[in-house]
Structure formats: structure tokens, C-alpha cells
């Protein structure tokens, strides 16, 4: 069981009204933003389940957009995130998918288009008390929470890639808390997700990229 801190009980400090429908929505979108290497130009959110039914009264739409703009759960600008999006020139759309079944009642998809043409699609679940999980990246099932420093590697599913990743981490003296491989089909695109208690230094990127099967690396620092 994870350690429960004083501030898991007296906290989080958050913009209301709901830890799952507001704070959790901010966290999902903020993780998606951190996974993006360049400036976000356009974002489309798809809301499912309970998110799709009660998003207005819970400010779930403002919360998701606020997270994309880089606001944390306690940032008072979340209430005016539509206005901030105009200011930052971020185009946004919401799709309400209240009739499509999903695994978790509080689920949102985020489709991001960046100024340089980079695109990213992420599905997140708000699992209660403000805690969240990213469960899919570009339609490949993954699982991580953002509670640890996280490195997400997009790779071709070939022998030796995971060994290379582990070696790079060892060279940087990073202690792995969790490491998992997610793949679609044998030999196709796969994701390796590494979670660590300590920060994963940016300097790891250079050595990581020396393996030709590694396509992309995303670093999420806590």
C-alpha cells in the first residue's frame, strides 16, 4: 500500500468543486501537456460517462482546458480557462460522448495538435480523490499515474530495446520504481513506461536515442 501522508488527508489544495470531476480532470490534461514536446495549437476533448453528464456543473471542461494550458489543480485561473485559452491562442473543442461505453465512468480523451505538426492522443481516467491514470497513448493501452517521475519511450518492438533503456537508466544512476512494456502487436509500435522515485535527468535522452528502434521519448517530471 502507498504511504498515506498528512496532506493526502488534509489536501489536496484544489479548485473545486470535485476532486474527481475537477482536480482529476486538471491532472489528466496537465500530464498530456507534459507529454507534448512543443507548443499546443489545438485540442479536442471527448468526455465519457459521468464526465459527459455533469461536466458543466463540475467545471470539468474548464479543468481539462486549464490543465492543457499548464495550470495545476490549485491554480485559480482554471475558472477562467476559456478566456486564458483565447489569450494563449489555443483552439479547443469538446465532444460529449454520453452514449459510448467506457471502462471507467470518469474518462476523457485528449487529442492534441501542436504548432509544428506533432500530434498526440491520450485517454485518461479520474479514479477518485483527485488521483488519475493515463490508460492509452495513441490508441495503445498503457498505464501510469504521474505520481512518479515518468519516462515514456515509443519504440519498435525489437529485441534489446528494453535492455538498452535499463542500461541508460543505470548509467544515470536512476533507481527504477516500476517498468513495464506495452505493445500492440509483435514487431509493431510499443511503449515502455519507466517510473522512478527520483527525477530522471534530461541528459539521459542523448544516450537513449543511440538505439535506432527508439522513436520518441517523453519525460514527465514531478
Amino acid at each position: 500500500m502507498n504511504f498515506l501522508s498528512i496532506f493526502d488527508v488534509i489536501g489536496p489544495n484544489m479548485i473545486g468543486p470535485s476532486s474527481s470531476h475537477t482536480a482529476g480532470a486538471v491532472s489528466i490534461a496537465l500530464l498530456a501537456r507534459k507529454m507534448c514536446p512543443s507548443t499546443i495549437k489545438k485540442v479536442t476533448f471527448t468526455l465519457y460517462g459521468s464526465f459527459s453528464k455533469t461536466y458543466r456543473g463540475h467545471g470539468t471542461d474548464r479543468a481539462l482546458l486549464g490543465g492543457i494550458l499548464g495550470f495545476a489543480t490549485e491554480d485559480a485561473r482554471i475558472r477562467e480557462s476559456f478566456e486564458w485559452a483565447e489569450k494563449y491562442n489555443v483552439e479547443y473543442h469538446f465532444i460529449i460522448a454520453d452514449d459510448i461505453p467506457v471502462n471507467h465512468p470518469n474518462t476523457a480523451d485528449i487529442n492534441i495538435e501542436c504548432a509544428d505538426g506533432y500530434t498526440l492522443w491520450v485517454r485518461g481516467e479520474s479514479i477518485g480523490g483527485g488521483k488519475v491514470k493515463i490508460v492509452s497513448i495513441n490508441h495503445i493501452d498503457v498505464e501510469f499515474t504521474g505520481e512518479y517521475s515518468t519516462m515514456i519511450v515509443r519504440q519498435t518492438d525489437q529485441p534489446g530495446v528494453v535492455a538498452h533503456i535499463a542500461q541508460c537508466l543505470a548509467h544515470q544512476d536512476v533507481n527504477i520504481a516500476f517498468m513495464r512494456l506495452f505493445r500492440e502487436d509483435k514487431g509493431a509500435t510499443a511503449f515502455t513506461v519507466v517510473e522512478s522515485d527520483e527525477p530522471i535527468p534530461d541528459s539521459i535522452l542523448k544516450e537513449m536515442k543511440t538505439n535506432k528502434h527508439i522513436r520518441e521519448i517523453m519525460l514527465i517530471q514531478i
Binding site: M1, F3, L4, S5, I6, F7, D8, V9, I10, G11, P12, N13, M14, I15, G16, P17, S18, S19, S20, T22, A23, S50, K53, T54, R56, G57, H58, G59, R62, E74, A76, I78, R79, G128, G129, G130
Partner: protein, 290 residues
């Protein structure tokens, strides 16, 4: 230094001759990642947010996002200022502050979830009213928050503080137990008295359902926070008078969880039962009809 039951917590308090707040702080320092100074810093931030969210709506009322509440805290406060209140000053203030925090929460303002957003008015309501009426220093307030977090931690670990899982008794009930215990320590009561107060508080709200109208954290959530503070102050008074609960805290935590998980799903935050499913509740947007 760690504990996973109320019984073990009491044993540690007795062994080291420390109040619950000090044991909880030592647990964080030895088992967690924060230092003593960092804990104080974070407590100070939490207390500041609590004070702001308890006071702001008294001069600047805010309409909620869903439109069901807004302005209630100012009404209760004015009623008290006009000497029309039928409760004493501590209870009137505690009610006012708890309603205020829920108003801030429902209008997308900044609050401290304690333990949840839907029950975020109870702990600040009780401790801030006590501070003002008993002229308590902020150090005593930190002790109150630490004490409340110890009781809340046990509820999170051994039961649940989620309305979707165990009803409002797990949110406002938990917050009320936390606040009752905090009030006892802040007024000089023993660790045993703290656990009796919390145990009575849980048993008083046992079975309370979660039935948010239109699925929103507005009504009846806001007034449930008011009853949460009234229950907490009552239970603290009982415990400080030397009254004990025949059922120990750990067993009440377990009972609360068993009652909660046996509640039908209509009464666990789905907006399909209770006040939410009344004809008027349905007109305001229940999940049965929409």
C-alpha cells in the same frame, strides 16, 4: 514510528507521552519524505486557504457553477450579527464557515479537501470557530490539523472516504469525526478522549447517504457540512465531559465501511436516489431521467 489502527495510535501516545498530533507528525517525518519544517510550511498553507475560503463568501457571495447554492454563508453570518441566532457563537460561526467553504468550492474557488472536496467545510468550520472564540494560537491550529489528519488517515486506510464507495457518512461523517477529535485535542483533552469523540461522531452519522441533486457538489452537500460541524462540536463536548463510547474507534471505522458498502448504488453519489430522485430533484437534473 507508524500505526495502522486507533489502538496502536493510543499506545504510541501513551508510550511516548505525546498528543495524537505529535505522533502523526513523527510518523510523517520517519515514514514519509517531508521534514519537520516542510510539514509546518504545508500546514501553514492549508490553514491560510481554509481561512480565506471560510471568510471570503461573507463579504463576496458567489453563485455556484450549477446554480443551486450561493450566498448562504452571508445569510447565516448576518443572522448571527443581528443577534438573532439560536445557537451559541461557536456553533453559529462554525456553521457559517462550513457553508462558506462549500460555497467557494461550488463556485470553482480554492479549498483544501479535508478529507474530500464535498466535506471540505467541516474541519475548517470547527477549528476556525474555536480559534476565534477561544483565542487560540496558530500552533494549536496546526495541532488540530495534524490530529484530524491522523483520524482521517485511519479512515482512508481501513475504510473509505469516498461518497461513491460508502456514502456521505464516509465524507461528512469522516470529516466530522476528524473535526471532533481535533477539537478535543485543541481544548486540552487526552488522546483517548479524541478517539471517543471521533467514534461517537461516526456512529451519529452512520448510514448517511450521498444523494447530490443533479449530481453536483452543492445541495444537500452544503447543509450536510453544517450538520457535520454541529455533530463534531457536540461529540467533542461529550468526550471532554468524560463520556466514553462503548464501541472503540477502530470498530466504528469498520462498521461505517460495512454499512457504506451495503448501501444500494442509488445512494452512493449516482444522483439516482434520496433528495436527488425526488420529483423536484429530478426536475433539477437527476441521472434517472436525463
Amino acid at each position: 514510528m507508524d500505526f495502522i489502527t486507533g489502538q496502536a495510535l493510543l499506545a504510541m501516545c501513551s508510550q511516548h507521552n505525546l498528543p495524537i498530533s505529535a505522533v502523526m507528525k513523527q510518523r510523517e517525518i520517519t515514514q514519509g519524505i517531508l521534514t519537520d519544517a516542510e510539514i509546518d510550511d504545508k500546514l501553514n498553507t492549508a490553514l491560510t486557504i481554509m481561512k480565506n475560503s471560510a471568510h471570503d463568501p461573507l463579504h463576496t457571495p458567489q453563485k455556484s457553477m450549477g446554480g443551486l447554492i450561493g450566498g448562504e454563508a452571508q445569510k447565516v453570518s448576518r443572522h448571527m450579527q443581528a443577534d438573532q441566532n439560536i445557537t451559541g457563537t461557536i456553533l453559529s460561526k462554525a456553521i457559517t464557515y462550513s457553508m462558506a467553504v462549500l460555497e467557494v468550492n461550488a463556485s470553482m474557488g480554492l479549498i483544501v479537501a479535508a478529507p474530500t472536496a464535498g466535506s471540505s467545510g467541516v474541519v475548517p468550520g470547527v477549528i476556525l470557530a474555536l480559534q476565534e472564540e477561544k483565542s487560540l494560537a496558530d500552533d494549536i491550529m496546526y495541532a488540530g490539523l495534524l490530529n484530524a489528519s491522523a483520524l482521517g488517515y485511519l479512515l482512508m486506510r481501513n475504510a473509505s472516504v469516498s461518497g461513491a464507495e460508502a456514502g456521505c457518512q464516509a465524507e461528512v461523517g469522516a470529516a466530522s469525526a476528524m473535526a471532533a477529535s481535533a477539537a478535543v485535542e485543541m481544548m486540552g483533552g487526552s488522546p483517548e478522549m479524541c478517539l471517543h469523540a471521533a467514534s461517537i461522531a461516526l456512529s451519529n452519522l452512520l448510514g448517511l447517504v450521498c444523494d447530490p441533486i443533479a449530481g453536483l457538489v452543492e445541495a444537500p452537500c452544503q447543509s450536510r457540512n453544517a450538520i457535520g460541524v454541529a455533530n463534531a462540536i457536540t461529540c467533542a463536548e461529550l468526550a471532554l465531559s468524560g463520556i466514553v463510547n462503548p464501541i472503540p474507534y477502530d470498530e466504528m471505522v469498520d462498521a461505517m465501511y460495512r454499512v457504506g458498502t451495503s448501501l444500494p448504488m442509488e445512494l452512493r453519489e449516482t444522483a439516482m436516489g434520496g433528495a436527488a430522485a425526488t420529483p423536484t430533484g429530478c426536475k433539477l437534473g437527476c441521472n434517472n431521467c436525463s
